[in-house]
């Protein structure tokens, strides 16, 4: 059990490094950088824990991104910074980049080497996974602002 917790903590540290690196790629303000790192670690811990409890990757991703959406609302009200600055950097470790790239490469493979049932299987599997995870991330992020839009107020 303690080994599992240790693993999760190490993974979350690496996830926060990844978040910080990508946050610098988007040029976020300097004082928001530390919150991007914290957000990346938090989302990864939540997603890992949910997946260890036996939830599917889509549901775990959805819970994690909905959580970061709520947390980022507090941060953005405190520091007057739009929420996507925090949320997008935090969910970067969960972006299904490998699935998307694999799907695209299989598509080109099918063109050049001929269509086989295996390639179609790989393409559909990876493409569906990428789209459903992306949908889970963005629906989770949008959940808080959709809740507030009903009240007809500015987002931050």
């Amino acid at each position: 059990m303690s080994g599992l917790i240790f693993d999760i903590i190490i993974n979350s540290i690496f996830a926060s490094v990844a978040s910080t690196g990508f946050a610098m790629l988007f040029n976020v303000p300097k004082n928001a950088l530390i919150y991007c790192a914290i957000g990346g670690a938090m989302t990864y811990i939540i997603k890992d824990t949910c997946m260890d409890l036996g939830l599917s990757i889509e549901l775990a991703t959805f819970i994690a991104s909905a959580f970061i959406g709520v947390v980022a609302l507090r941060w953005s009200k405190k520091f007057l910074i739009p929420r996507p600055v925090y949320t997008v950097a935090s969910i970067i470790p969960m972006i299904p980049g490998t699935y998307a790239f694999t799907a695209m490469i299989t598509l080109v493979d099918m063109n050049s080497h001929g269509v086989t049932p295996e390639l179609i299987e790989i393409f559909i599997e990876n493409g569906l996974k990428a789209i459903s995870i992306l949908g889970a991330i963005s629906f989770g992020l949008a959940l808080t602002s959709l809740y507030y839009m009903r009240l007809n107020r500015p987002v931050i």
Binding site: A15, A18, P29, P82, V88, I91, G97, S138, P154
Partner: protein, 274 residues
Amino acid sequence: MTFKYNLIIILKNFLRKEQIIDYEEQSKITRVIIKAAVLMLEFGAESILIEQTAQRLGKALGVDSVEISLIPSAIVLTTLLKGRSATTTRRVHHKPINMSIVCDVQKMVIEIEKDKHDSDWVTTHMKNIQPNYYNRWLVILMVGLACASFSYLYGADIWAFAITFISSSIAMYIRQELSKKRFMLILTFGITAFIATLLSSTSLLFNLTNTPNVVFAASVLLLVPGFPFVTSFLDGFKGYLSMAWGRWLQASLLTIATCMGIILAMSVLNIKGW
């Protein structure tokens, strides 16, 4: 003393409110508002944020309402004042995403809401907004570390970690050089992916690691267009459908360009499989 000072401020505000905005002034306000909106759209802000910022800025500068129409390549904006309307259109050229400029515009609007400034102040303030560029070597180091962290999360060993770090750092350097020369984003992404894949193929050629496919996948992750994808979904959920399609297509084109680079490198080296 303070009472006297307060009285002066109250009088000043009263006079400003009574100030009549003529058509000249209204068109000036319109130009200022659309400048702010264009700045936000160019550097990749969410659509709802652009619309709300424009409306808040308009209210603070003294017009009755601001109507905005967004498409991915242009903005049409109308300000209304006592039945009089001023409309203007601006073309938008998308630039690399830069959140610090978006934050600065947002902060400026909040400042104007707090203590009233006029449109001239806004113009000079917007001219002075600096892009908060980090030191480029620091960015290269951090992006290399970020991609290497990804490779760790996908289960890489120590050699795979090192190769990913080196190849993605060099790829990031090349991406910076190319964007300094103002190439199209699609070309930049394709070339960077090509070079990143060439560099990470050393793991396969010299048999350094047991997990070469992780290296291939992780070293091109700096090219994942995460921001356009997420904003496109967020825009779609909030009812800005044409913006959502535009951003989706932009992100998809960048992904395809990246894949083209990867495939080209793989066919040059005659590697198959990922």
